[in-house]
């Protein structure tokens, strides 16, 4: 731990990291302010504390007892006769639409059908629990959900990934920049120090991400009241997913998530993706001495990971495998914990993707470390 602490001190003394965190926070502030606040959402957040978030008779009675206002009228109108969208919902139609759109056949078509057959089970469970009768932000749900999970959390996740790569490359390149490689790597700890550097960079990166997330979300929730909405289910009938093949359809998650648990799960997967990118940074940083070139290599590789599947035929496994890579997981952040859309072939793609990527990248990192130990340092 002594080495790790010393390496973390190096990272914390870097103006580049603090500068990046400050810039990211400034960007997030602009993002929050540019979206503005919604009086109706604030009203729902407030009244949901009293009415609860499950739209039933009790909810309607409590809502009716509230002081008359335009917002109350609007909410009454939106929640009146709310139907459970999961009752009779057929997820298999989505599978057929995607199979048709991508011209899938054989095993890929079967896998797509299997995915939506499994989703149908989740839909049935949701129908039993009445998840879709959750209030969330009623008529403002789609916009509010998109604002937080499709805007701010996406930005935070991408910033986290950049922080992960930057801290890793900064700490691995530190000795090269200061010309201290020869002294450091000939000390008793030798080149094994890079494993401590790796741990330090990850801890510092996670810390920086959590710090940035804490400040950003504190500001967001200070301006956007969530009150009783925290307990709403994200698969509320008011929430939706939109894609070019199926248009608007219910926001179906594999498991049941409240807004609060969905936020925590999103942060969890973000940390998982950061972990993946830290390992990518480790492989690049131990293979390429110059941190700037290593960063460029990571950047180019990320672009290639986005571009390659776009050039592959849409009905091959290769294209679908690419969507499990960290770069694609990052791009598909707003759809985490859902079916993921037509370019995802397997259920729980975000968790599967993070686990597989971590396993593979850990292997690459071990290989890179062993190569680094045998490498001539000129």
């Amino acid at each position: 731990m002594r080495f790790v602490r010393l390496e973390i001190r190096k990272i914390m003394s870097s103006y580049a990291i603090w500068g990046f965190i400050a810039l990211s926070f400034a960007f997030n502030v602009l993002l929050i302010l540019s979206k503005g606040t919604d009086g109706y959402s604030d009203y729902i957040a407030g009244v949901s504390v009293e009415t609860g978030v499950y739209v039933d008779k009790d909810f309607n009675q409590k809502l009716a007892a509230l002081t008359q206002s335009d917002y109350r009228e609007r909410l009454t109108w939106e929640t009146a006769g709310l139907k459970d969208v999961f009752n009779g919902y057929n997820a298999e139609e989505i599978a057929e639409a995607y199979i048709h759109a991508l011209h899938l056949s054989g095993n890929t078509a079967e896998d797509m059908r299997e995915k939506y057959a499994a989703l149908q089970n989740s839909v049935n469970e949701k129908a039993q629990r009445g998840d879709s009768l959750s209030l969330y932000f009623a008529g403002s749900t789609y916009e509010q959900h998109k604002k937080l999970f499709g805007g701010l959390m996406t930005a935070l996740c991408r910033e986290g990934v950049l922080i992960a790569v930057l801290t890793m490359l900064l700490v691995l390149g530190h000795e090269h920049i200061h010309r201290t490689e020869q002294v450091v790597y000939t000390a008793k700890s030798g080149r094994r120090i890079v494993t401590k550097k790796c741990i330090a960079a990850m801890l510092a990166g996670f810390g920086a991400y959590l710090l940035l997330t804490a400040f950003t979300l504190a500001l967001y929730f200070a301006l956007n009241d969530y009150g009783g909405v925290w307990g709403s289910n994200v698969s509320s009938g008011f929430n939706a997913i939109q894609d070019i093949v199926t248009g608007f359809r219910p926001f179906v998650t594999w498991n049941s998530f409240t807004v609060f648990t969905y936020l925590l799960a999103t942060i969890g997967i973000s940390l998982g993706i950061m972990f993946c990118f830290s390992l990518v940074g480790f492989v690049a940083g131990t293979s390429i001495r110059n941190s700037y070139i290593a960063f460029l290599a990571v950047f180019i590789m990320s672009i290639l990971f986005v571009a390659i599947p776009m050039m592959l035929p849409g009905n091959t496994y290769a294209m679908f495998v690419f969507t499990l890579t960290p770069v694609w997981l990052l791009l598909k952040q707003p759809l985490w914990f859902t079916d993921g859309g037509m370019d995802v072939l397997w259920r729980h793609f975000e968790t599967t993707g993070v686990c597989l990527s971590l396993a593979l990248l850990l292997l690459f990192a071990v290989i890179a470390f062993h190569k680094f130990r045998k490498k001539d340092i000129l």
């Binding site: 002594r2 080495f3 010393l6 003394s13 000795e175 200061h178 010309r179 201290t180 490689e181 020869q182 002294v183 450091v184 790597y185 000939t186 000390a187 008793k188 700890s189 030798g190 094994r192 120090i193 045998k374 001539d376 340092i377 000129l378």
Partner: protein, 290 residues
Amino acid sequence: MLLLNNVTKKYGNFTALKDINLEFTSGVYALLAPNGAGKTTLIKMLTTLIFPTKGEILWNGNEIVKLDSVYRDAIGYLPQEFGYYKNHSPYDFLLYLAALKGIDRAAASRKADELIELVSLSDVRNKKMRKFSGGMIQRVGIAQAMLNNPKILILDEPTAGLDPKERVRFRNLISTLSKDRIVILSTHIVSDIETIANHVIMLKDHKLLCDSSPASICETLAGKVFETADITSVREPHLTLTERQEDGRTITRFACDVNYFGAARSVAPNLEDIFLYVYRDEQTVCREVV
């Protein structure tokens, strides 16, 4: 004992060092060769920064790469380009490197203070190194190399860039530190060696040329070095070594391989003569007259 057995280092088709056999016991070993002869390659192999393409390096009979941290714990190294953290004080920097050398905090603190005093940096112990002179930085460098009280102290061009006063101070320091350990000193500055080295290792054309005491090496040119105030009178083929002014005259020192019976005075050869003679093809300052 540190032993090199048939050590070769290649970079693609380029051979940086070929079939080097050396044995180091305690004392000061000076690696003497012009720039590019392979001194730094040899030093880097001894410090495990690079690995031999062929052959083996043994420390007390064991391969140094296999010994790993056990071997590195026995070495102290001052690289040619000694890098440091500009915003650290010498004390903080030494504490950091002490941690890397596996020294516990209390012992590291004591050792850092002791070495800072030894290298006369007590006045600036807690000052940031940003504004330190080259000599001060080199002293920090020697202090860090001594942190683990190494059995092998490896110094790559330690006096390069130092002013004469600093250089003398540094040589004295190395002399002090050379008791009961192997000191390997790489340099192309001959005057550094004459005063402190027990052994001189010379490399030429990426091969070992000689490994002997300074006196034995000088002996190889005995009877071949002369001085004259009139070099134009020397008709025999000779190699001009140095020139100096004395009583308003230019005294030329030269080496002559053939029997010379002229008026020039025979003098005892020194290491500088050997250096200029051996590396005459590589030194632009040497003029060979045939």
